[in-house]
């Protein structure tokens, strides 16, 4: 296949044009940052979160109507603001995920469902620098 493409530069050019036609010309691909946390409690927190996401959460299925999901939101909030403030943000989110506050959020299509978009930045803007 490779040999045949190389021998037909026209075909490979057309293929390239066809592929790039679907890309946003302004877009820039960025690698997702990899989080590496050290320390005893950070490791325990990582294990706990991993256990919840891989073992506990699949048992009762996807229930969260928001994006990021409540567990992921809590994880991000605790990573960003520590266990106390991050924990309060997580419990705040659990109480707000009641399926009745659609008018306060924008919608986002994720995992095949429409979800309410509520990132950490939408809730900590008033005490963190932009």
């Amino acid at each position: 296949m490779r040999a045949s493409l190389n021998s037909h530069p026209m075909i490979s050019t057309l293929l390239f044009i066809a592929l790039t036609a679907f890309l946003d010309p302004w877009s820039v691909t960025e690698k997702a940052p990899v989080m590496k946390e050290e320390g005893f409690w950070n490791q325990r927190f990582e294990y706990g979160f991993y256990f919840y996401q891989k073992v506990l959460s699949p048992a009762d299925g996807a229930r969260c109507g928001m994006y990021p999901t409540c567990a992921d939101y809590g994880y991000q909030a605790i990573q960003k603001h520590g266990p106390l403030l991050g924990g309060w943000m997580a419990t705040d989110r659990y109480m707000r995920d009641n399926g009745r506050g659609n008018s306060f959020y924008s919608l986002i299509e994720k995992f095949g469902h429409r979800r309410l978009f509520d990132p950490v930045s939408a809730n900590d803007f008033w005490f963190t620098a932009p």
């Binding site: 010309p25 302004w26 403030l85 309060w88 705040d92 109480m95 707000r96 009745r100 306060f104 803007f125």
Partner: protein
């Protein structure tokens, strides 16, 4: 045989027609057409093509400005700035240089770097004291202060405008800015206090009925859990429930305070949107100079 000959001729001339060089006017016209269609990315490609094929054309510096302005329109602030900076340094005493310097400030303003925008406009006014864009600089500085909620400074800047038609707009905007503190805000402190007294009350104060309801239900259940475990002398369970309850109680207060901030932000942003539609300035590049549109 004839067919084969024409077939051969067609394909031998095809590459020439594909890669032939257009005239400078044609490239610029096509670039401008794409710019008008708001296809800024492809317009930039055409302008760059023009610069590549005709590096000594008299329209080059204007085309460079057009590239910068296309980036600006495409909200690529960091890409736009070098073009304006280069032109303002290369042609400091021309209208193009003046417009480029003004556009640096305008780019900062649009990218919400209000302090940098104000500083650049100050420098602009020092450098070009007789520029026709000076009044716009006052006006935009007023807006920049307004976006930082420095209402006194905003009205002060707006009062310095001399152009009669712009002055009228500025006065109307000033009266709106003076009403800024009378908008229906919610106090985050009060909201937090309310939710500390009764879980959910702060959220109701912020207009979030169901958030308040769920906070009340969850915290009531935890309160009952604390009471029941203590009453039945399950002290380990009591400790665990109290620990979890304190997290949800704190979260309830956080929720109320955060909701008040979100409420206030929505009030401000919707008001800014309305005022920008009414009194905002749109700068347009007509090929030779910046023009203002209200």
């Amino acid at each position: 045989m004839k067919k084969i000959f024409f077939f051969f001729m067609f394909f031998s001339f095809l590459p020439l027609s594909l890669f032939s060089k257009d005239s400078p006017e044609q490239i610029l016209q096509f670039g401008n057409h794409l710019y008008q269609e708001e296809d800024y990315y492809r317009a930039i490609t055409e302008y760059k093509r023009f610069l590549y094929f005709y590096p000594k054309h008299p329209q080059n510096s204007h085309t460079e400005f057009q590239i910068g302005y296309s980036y600006l329109k495409g909200e690529k602030w960091e890409a736009a700035l070098p073009y304006f900076q280069k032109l303002s340094t290369d042609f400091p005493h021309t209208r193009l240089g003046e417009n480029s310097f003004f556009s640096i400030a305008h780019t900062h303003f649009l990218s919400k770097k209000y302090k940098a925008a104000q500083e650049t406009w100050n420098e602009f006014q020092e450098r070009y004291p007789k520029s026709s864009l000076n009044d716009i600089a006052w006006y935009q500085k007023g807006w920049a202060y307004f976006f930082q909620e420095k209402t006194k400074e905003a009205t002060q800047e707006l009062s310095l405008i001399k152009n009669p038609s712009l002055k009228n707009k500025a006065m109307l905007l000033s009266t709106e800015i003076e009403k800024w503190h009378t908008l229906p805000y919610r106090s985050p402190f009060l909201a937090g206090m309310f939710s500390a007294m009764l879980p959910g009350l702060g959220q109701w104060y912020d207009g979030r009925f169901w958030d308040g309801m769920s906070a009340l239900v969850v915290n009531s259940m935890f309160a009952y859990g604390i009471y029941a475990t203590w009453r039945d002398e399950h002290y380990v369970a009591f400790g665990i429930v109290t620990f979890l309850a304190s997290g949800f109680y704190g979260g309830n207060i956080f929720s109320a305070v955060s909701s008040a901030h979100k409420f206030n932000r929505n009030v401000k942003e919707s008001k800014w949107q309305i005022l920008q539609k009414k009194y905002g300035v749109n700068l347009e590049w007509n090929g030779n100079s910046l023009t203002i549109k209200f």
